[in-house]
Symmetry: C2
Subunit: 296 residues, 2 copies
DNA sequence: AGAGGTGCTGCAAAATACGCAACGATTGGC
DNA sequence: GCCAATCGTTGCGTATTTTGCAGCACCTCT
């Protein structure tokens, strides 16, 4: 879009930090880029960047403008996709930021299901923890977020929420594997495999441990949920995961046992988008499919 | 703003109905305008206008685009005004759509009060009935609406609501002028001066009359609230108005008596804006001033 | 059938954007 | 303390884009 090129230029300068680098990124000369930025600032009525000896940085006005630019572009592409959808062909692109837990089973299945009906729709999935996912929404880098126990919740509009009790994951021959429900204090006697502190599962477990006046001392702490699940198959260790990230059929050698609700609070898996946004048609439809899938 | 000129062109063609007329409005040639529209449609990926023998008309895609254009422009000017406000000078422009009742006393007083604090802020006030006011908001022709008993209420976000009982207006020597409260059936014995059917006051009176199994048969029906008030001074006629449109000091020769609540429902005067919009700073501040003024 | 509309298109002129080279200023390292 | 490496900025000649003019083909209403 020619008429939005100046916006791309501003974003490029913001990203690169200097006119010369941005100019190289855009395959034009620095002088041309410089003059267009200057012309825009003159028209706009105020400077957008502050000129530092080492480059350019957005000033307060620029930050406000950048927010507008991002929103504007997202809304424009939304209109475009709506128009394309008007002609009957179901096309589109859905950008999702989600927890790791959704990656192995849930999302692949849902995306595949959706694409079986609308093969023209493509997806991009970004793995984000619960803080970064909300950030992703606010910069329009994602349309939807599907996260466990998000943090800030400002500007996060919830489309659907499902309770997700935390499950203990262990091998079938583990001493506790026959219990219908596990107390947290029983788990603490075994080797614990925990996700890093930024994750919601860990957060809820820490809270619960604090109530027991105990500390969580994992033998393995990792940012990979996959590793948590796989390591739990070895020895007498216990991993933790939420139900949506588990699949009994795929891993029959593992036992999944819920933690007692009176010990560990039941978390919420939330599907949402940026407050006030109008989602692209494809994202909206996919969201409603997700919602019904989670409901069952 | 050079880069938004194509949007102006599209709006101009939409407004004028043909390229040649729009070109004349914009002081350019039809060929230039034509080519820019064609170039935009090519980039956009779809036609925006349908070509009729008598001119151009927006197609469905064009309607969607037009909504985006209007929102985009409003948001851009909002950013501009925020940036200007950043530099300390309190400037801005507030566009209000309001009921006639607010014109004589309430709004002039409020605008004057606001401007005494922020002389750099200017106003435009449009008189709109309760249907058109909501339409005005949705096309971004007004920032705020202040209306009595609005109709659709979709996309209308209420900032403040005040109950407004309907008042009977008559001369001081009217037989009913000494009552503390009036029954509707007593009023019906006299000459009635009523506003047209599109107004909220009339609507509530009609509803009340229907419950009494009576018809309203006004001797004078007008779209001018001013005329209602003034005519009530003559003879034994009775006019109707809401409290915010009345001022005892300015018109001491008139008596204002509330109608009994059990006869006529109390209406609501609503201050609101388009749902999902971020208002300009000036409009937001003025709205909060209005809200506190209405509260007392 | 003609008059008055419409959108559209070559072609040349005007306006605009661009690339190149150079300037002044500041920073970081030797 | 100086030199190399950045940075943003500007003058100038050249490309590129946009515009205005005139004319074409089409349609509608009288």
């Amino acid at each position: 879009m020619r008429h939005l090129k100046i916006y791309e230029m501003i974003e490029a300068v913001h990203w690169a930090g200097s006119i010369r680098k941005a100019a190289e990124d855009m395959n034009i000369t620095a002088s041309a880029l410089n003059r267009r930025i200057q012309a825009f600032e003159k028209e706009f009525g105020a400077d957008v960047f502050e000129r530092l000896p080492r480059g350019m940085r957005l000033n307060t006005a620029g930050e406000l403008l950048l927010r507008h630019i991002r929103f504007q572009r997202q809304d424009f592409t939304r209109v475009q996709s709506q128009v394309i959808d008007l002609s009957g062909v179901r096309r589109g692109h859905v950008k999702i930021a989600c927890s790791q837990a959704l990656l192995p089973y849930f999302l692949p299945q849902q995306i595949s299901l959706y694409r079986s009906e609308f093969p023209g729709v493509t997806f991009s999935v970004k793995v984000r923890d619960r803080i970064q996912a909300e950030l992703d929404l606010s910069t329009f880098e994602s349309d939807l977020a599907l996260v466990f126990e998000p943090v800030h919740m400002v500007d996060f509009e919830v489309l659907h929420a499902v309770p997700q009790p935390i499950m203990a994951v262990m091998s079938q021959d583990h001493p506790l594997s026959t219990q219908p429900e596990l107390r947290l204090r029983d788990c603490l006697d075994y080797d614990l495999v925990l996700p890093d502190r930024q994750y919601g599962v860990r957060f809820l477990l820490e809270q619960a441990a604090k109530r027991l006046r105990r500390n969580l001392e994992p033998i393995l702490e990792t940012e990979s949920f996959e590793m948590v699940r796989h390591y739990a198959a070895y020895g007498k260790s216990i991993g933790f995961q939420i139900p949506v990230g588990l699949n009994k059929v795929a891993r029959p050698e593992l036992a999944y046992i819920p933690l007692a609700e009176r010990d560990v609070a039941v978390g919420e898996l939330l599907l949402g988008h940026l407050r006030g946004r109008t989602l692209p048609v494809a994202a909206l439809k996919f969201a409603s499919q997700i919602a019904t899938a989670l409901h069952n």
